[in-house]
């Protein structure tokens, strides 16, 4: 019996589809189109030329910015996943349900304040004459230059992504069936091997998603590399700003943006594929 098609499911999907169409797909198409436009006398003209692409993709400064951005985002994702794991493990397995709830709450609190404000706070803390150097000075070291460096940018990235990574990891670890962990012990796995052989594989999806979010947020971030990283070397986000400021080169900036989007699509696609890959 053929079922009469119902508009009901479409009704609920409509808002999301309209929203995504208007604010994601639309601008994306516009941006891709714009990357083929021409700038004449500081004005953009719709056109179809490959000049912007050729100009950006043959320049070393683009590729070095790309490399810096990709490398930093990868390191930030790796460090965040690594640093977050012990905390997530403790929250998932070692504390009471109540403590876990409070911890999740306090991990959400940082999102109440603007990321920009928190980055400004780091500027004070990490300054040459700031409190962190003062503490290091007590043991006779330093002062270290922490601002306007890769280190500064990394501190900023971790500020942005750590709470989210801890939350995602904690949820995925807490969702593991405890019987699986006990079964591993019961079959002769030491606690360390249980961690590697059972806990990590069982929480794989959440751990990978945490790292992917960390990568995406760091890859596109402008605030940390600008205010803490000193924009030298520039990341792709800084390159976009610079390109638009110099001679209204929006089409060239669009090329950078499209390259970023393509990278994020590839990374997210590969990661989600890996997360949900099953044993054949």
């Amino acid at each position: 019996m053929a079922r009469k098609p119902s508009i009901y499911p479409y009704f609920w999907r409509a808002p999301l589809l309209i929203w995504q169409g208007l604010f994601f797909v639309g601008p994306l198409i516009l941006m891709v189109a714009m990357s083929f436009w021409l700038v004449r006398n500081y004005r953009m003209e719709p056109d179809f030329v490959l000049a912007n692409w050729e100009r950006m993709l043959t320049r070393d400064y683009f590729w070095s910015a790309y490399q810096v951005t990709f490398l930093r985002a990868s390191i930030a994702a790796a460090l965040a996943s690594l640093f977050a794991f012990p905390a997530s493990y403790a929250l998932a397995f070692l504390v009471s349900e109540t403590t876990r709830r409070w911890a999740i709450f306090f991990l959400i609190v940082p999102f109440f304040t603007s990321y920009l404000v928190r980055v400004y706070a780091w500027q004070v803390l990490l300054a040459e004459s700031g409190p962190v150097n003062a503490v290091i000075g007590f043991v006779g070291l330093g002062p270290f230059t922490m601002l306007n460096s890769g280190f500064g940018a990394m501190v900023g990235y971790l500020t942005l992504i750590m709470p989210l990574v801890v939350i995602l990891q904690t949820f995925s670890l807490a969702a593991i069936d405890r019987n699986l962990i006990e079964a591993a012990w019961n079959l002769g796995a030491s606690p360390r091997r249980t961690l590697v052989r059972v806990i990590v594989p069982a929480a794989k999806v959440g751990l990978i998603l945490g790292a992917v979010f960390a990568f995406i947020l760091s890859f596109g971030d402008f605030v940390s590399p600008f205010y803490l990283g000193g924009s030298k070397p520039p990341t792709l986000s800084i390159l976009i700003i610079d390109t638009t400021k110099s001679g209204q080169q929006w089409p060239r900036a669009a090329v950078v943006a499209v390259m970023m989007i393509l990278t994020l699509f590839t990374v997210a696609f590969a990661a989600v594929g890996a997360a949900y890959r099953r044993n054949a």
């Binding site: 069936d177 591993a184 012990w185 079959l187 796995a189 606690p191 052989r197 594989p201 794989k204 044993n279």
Partner: protein, 356 residues
């Protein structure tokens, strides 16, 4: 170690969680090659007992000896006491072969030997060709057999089972019971089987341990427990029993004014158990004394029909009859019947005190 020492000895083992006492000082010996069922209602401490044996819980008091060695605080992963979980706890991120070889891998057995053993155990449990299947592609019975293969591959001296069949369909339960008893006989190892199901426990085990409220209430062969429950708790928990109290005088027991024959019991108050299949039902008052009871309902059981009655003083009575006999009796709710039993049928409860 001489063969006289039991494989497992619980001695005065107690386990409490804060103020809650899950296990209250149990003594139990389990021999090599024995199939022991630990049975009791939920919360009786049977699973805690099993988990202490596996090292997943540490006794609060007392000692657990395995092979003559006190193992109270030996970590779970240093024992060879594999457990089959009720949920089976198969690793969903590993395939069948990887699940089965897990224990060998953790013992750093070389790859070639692991593969040979995996093949052997999969064959033994009828799982050839399933090596590369994912766990979620298996049926309930197949999962069960993977769990068994995974637990047995290290060739342990004992296998612990925690209600492993409770999630299966009825027809599969019977088949798996066959698989389990055959395996246990072939391997000659000890099985400790925790269940709340009387039919599973009685069908498979050499000895049944009945637990209630954290204590062992009775240990015995299935038939012993069935025919001679030690107290009211066991009689109520095990099967279809009638539990009657009355006063004994001169070889007769007075149950609510009806004097029924009872041999070999000294005078005084007594509690007796008559199994449902030993009850006789009469459609009209028989010449010998019988309890008058109103029919309540019937229930089909494997070997016949269990009829429920309400006797004098709201006494709940049950009798098992063959289906043909039921047709003759033509019971209807409220219709009176007379129930009696042969003089040698009742079993006298020796421990009248508690419900445990």
């Amino acid at each position: 170690m001489t063969d006289a020492t039991p494989l497992v000895r619980f001695s005065q083992v107690r386990k409490s969680y804060g103020a809650i006492e899950a296990v209250r000082g149990i003594d139990l010996d389990i021999d090599r090659g024995e199939f022991v069922a630990i049975m009791g209602p939920s919360g009786c401490g049977k699973t805690t007992t099993l988990r202490m044996l596996a090292g997943l819980e540490t006794p609060t008091d007392g000692t657990i000896t395995i092979d003559g060695r006190v193992t109270n605080s030996l970590p779970a992963h240093e024992r060879d006491t594999p457990l089959v979980w009720q949920s089976l706890a198969l690793f969903p991120f590993l395939n069948v072969a990887q699940n089965v070889e897990f224990g060998l891998k953790m013992r750093d057995v070389p790859r070639a030997e692991r593969q040979a053993k995996v093949a052997l155990w999969l064959e033994r449990l009828g799982l050839e060709g399933f090596e590369h299947r994912r766990i979620d592609q298996l049926s309930g019975g197949q999962k069960q057999r993977v769990a068994l293969a995974r637990s047995l591959i290290t060739e342990p001296e004992m296998l612990l089972l925690d209600e492993p069949l409770s999630a299966l369909d009825a027809h599969l339960v019977v088949r798996m019971q066959g698989v389990l008893t055959r395996l246990q006989k072939e391997l000659g190892i000890t099985f400790v089987y925790v269940t709340h199901s009387q039919s599973e426990a009685f069908a498979m085990s050499d000895r049944v341990v009945i637990m209630g409220h954290g204590e062992i209430v009775q240990i015995g062969r299935p038939r012993e427990i069935f025919r001679a429950p030690r107290n009211r708790f066991v009689a109520e928990f095990v099967g279809h029993n009638n539990i009657l109290s009355g006063t004994v005088t001169q070889g007769e027991i007075d149950v609510d004014g009806v004097r029924l024959p009872l041999a070999g019991v000294s005078d005084g108050p007594a509690e007796i158990v008559v199994a449902a299949d030993r009850m006789e039902i009469y459609g009209s008052p028989p010449s010998s004394p019988a309890l008058k009871a109103a029919f309540v309902s019937e229930e089909f059981a494997g070997a016949g029909v269990i009829c429920y009655f309400e006797g004098p003083g709201d006494l709940e009575l049950r009798a098992q009859v063959p289906e043909a006999r039921l047709a003759e009796l033509a019971p209807e709710p409220g219709k009176p019947f007379w129930l009696a039993w042969a003089a040698d049928s009742p079993h006298v409860l020796t421990h009248r005190e508690g419900r445990t």
